[in-house]
Structures are given as C-alpha cells and as structure tokens.
Symmetry: C2
Subunit: 223 residues, 2 copies
Amino acid sequence: MKKAVILLSGGLDSTTCLALARSEGYECYALSFDYGQKHNSELNAAKKISRQFNTKRHEIVTLSIGNLGGSALTDDNISVPDFNGSKEIPLTYVPARNTIMLSIALGWAEILDADNIYIGVSAVDYSGYPDCRPEYINAFREMANLATKKSIEGKPINIVTPLINLSKAETTKLGVSLGVDYSETVSCYKATDDGLACGKCDSCHLRKKGFEEANTPDPTRYI
Amino acid sequence: MKKAVILLSGGLDSTTCLALARSEGYECYALSFDYGQKHNSELNAAKKISRQFNTKRHEIVTLSIGNLGGSALTDDNISVPDFNGSKEIPLTYVPARNTIMLSIALGWAEILDADNIYIGVSAVDYSGYPDCRPEYINAFREMANLATKKSIEGKPINIVTPLINLSKAETTKLGVSLGVDYSETVSCYKATDDGLACGKCDSCHLRKKGFEEANTPDPTRYI
C-alpha cells in the first residue's frame, strides 16, 4: 500500500488534506509538532482526528523552538493580535515554521519509504506567510530532491499541496464532500485548553469567512 | 556587530567553523541539537567549546526525531558500524538531518536578524551523505531565499560552507592556524559519556586521517 506523511496541525486545512490522502488510497502517517505553541489544544484535536481517520501512526514531534522566541504563537511577551485586515505579515508568523516541519516530514517519509508529503498550505485565503507561496513550495521540492538517499536512488519524495489554489470556502466544500466533521478541528491561535475558539484572530477570521462563503453551517465552538 | 548562527555539533568541523566565524568578526550564536543521538557527549563538548569561544548565546534545541528511527545514530536496534571503506551511504546517515538543522538555524537567524549561517559540511573527506554535497547546499540556499520574511524584505540569509572543498587535513590545518584546541572536540559516533572516541567508526577514521595528513599530533582521547 502506498504511504503518505500528512502534516496535521489539527486545523481545518490539514484535516482536509488527511481526508483527501485517505480518499486517494494512501496509508496515512500523521505528523504533528509540539513546538511550544500557546494554542496547544490543537494537538488534542490532531489526536482525535488521527484516530477518526484511522491513520497507521500519529507522531507528535517535540521541538523546543519556542525558546527562540520571535512569534506571537510561541512568545509570552507577544500577544496574538485580532484580525485587522492589514497586508503586512502578522506577528503570528513563526520564522521558518513550514520549512522546519516539511524537513522533519521529509526525514520521516524517507524512513517510511513514503512517496508523498501532504501539507495544507494555501496561497489564496492566508495570512501572507512567505512559506505558504507556490514559489517557496517549488523551491522546497527542488531541495528535497537533492537532500535524501531515496532521491539519489531515483525515488523522489513529492510535496503535495492540494489546497494551494483553493479559497477557504473551496477547501471547506472539499472537506464536506469527503465527510470531514469540522467540529473537532481547532484553527484558533488563542484556542482554550478545551479547544474553544476566540472568533477574532486571523485564523478564526479566515475560517469563519470560509464557512460563510461555502454556505455551510460553522460547527466551530466559540468562547 | 554582524551576527552569525553556527551549527555546532561539538566535532572537529563545526568547531573550525565557529573559530572561523569569530575570526571574521561575527557575533556568534551557536546552535546544537539534542535529537536522541547515542553519542550525546558531543553536546557536552559543544557546551565547553561554546564557552571557550565566548559565543553570545548557545542554544540546544530538543528534537524528538530519534523516535522516528532509521539511523544507527539514533536507533538502538541498529549498531554503529566500524569504518569499512564501502562507497555506499552508511547506516549512520540520519534522513534529512542537515535539512532539519539548517531549517531551525534559518528560523533562529531570522529572529536574531543574522545574515549568515555557518555549517561545517565537506564534500571531500565525508561519508557520502547526500546532504553534504554542494548541489544540495545550493538548493537549500535558493529555498531559504523564498522562505522567510527577511528574504522577502531583500535581506537574504546566506548559508556559509567554508569547509565544503577542504579535505579533513586542510580543515585541521585551518583550525590549528586559528588556535583551535581539538582535544575538547568529539567527533566519534560511539563516544563514551566522558567523550572518549572508539577510533574505529567512519567519523574516527576520517578524523584520524586528517590529523595524519596534516602532520599534526592527534589530541583525540581514545578508549
């Protein structure tokens, strides 16, 4: 059975990716990160979702990059801002986060002899993070093809980004068509320990907008 | 003062890089990883060396990739082999290790507003790891230039590989000329908790050969 590693934060996008990979016949290996994020309840969501989707394995890698600071998601001295419509890269940006996560996924994919890594980045309804753009993903692919023993042996590991050109509404519709129950997913940057969403941060804003534009009831549990 | 992040394993190459970065006038930020390596005493060496070189900060990032298995350096079920002259990529290869470490260095460099990351890879006297080759490093550079907010703002973070074309003997001579005391460095894949080297693994073989060819006394403490 062909294998895929799925980066699973426990949010709407990554859960949709997992549903898609499973629907495409992959044996799924879910990968999450405990990197010192304040909204740690996303990891509980990831665990539940991983069980729901009957993944072959769910690995939560501990990564002490929170000590390095530099982001509102990890640094107690920087508050998570509410959505404000600004075009600037917001304080919630975690330097090199997708690069770090994709790199660890690359290592695991090589160990598992998996051909694909799914990551739920989108360059449509997103916060402007540089490491969500197609040109970045393409450059990561090139690099990955030179980085591993598997690639040297002619078995490249592909980075699959099925949501990259989808709006949040389109992603939501895709997930609904695949039977995803979004009530268990946690997207909020300030989610409580019980997984309740603030309704105000960038991530909540994009998610709400997605359900609205998709004409789908929003199952998010707000504070 | 210009800043550099130096990937510091505590071995011969990374210590030479640190010495070089300091001699070039950088404020040095040393970065090491506790990734479940069996030869954990390299971290004690890294701490001592970091103090010797008076780095601005030394961060040891914990990274639980050892649980993923796949390498003789982290997996208790795979023994570290002695040097055998084979051209194959050895069991000590850790999938995507340099990619993972460079990625975390990239994040930290962005947080610190550092322009350079030093990594002591060599494509001359090396174990054939794919992620030590110039073509891999060049691809990582391209990707890094698209990955960060700093790069979008026109301030790219460079990956500096001063040893990439040097033999181990040339690296050793360079270090000696910079005043490096190699007796504190630990390169052995099977180093004891006290930092004693086995003298038989690939890493010991390359290091021994380096001191011999450089006509420099080998200060390594062997078992």
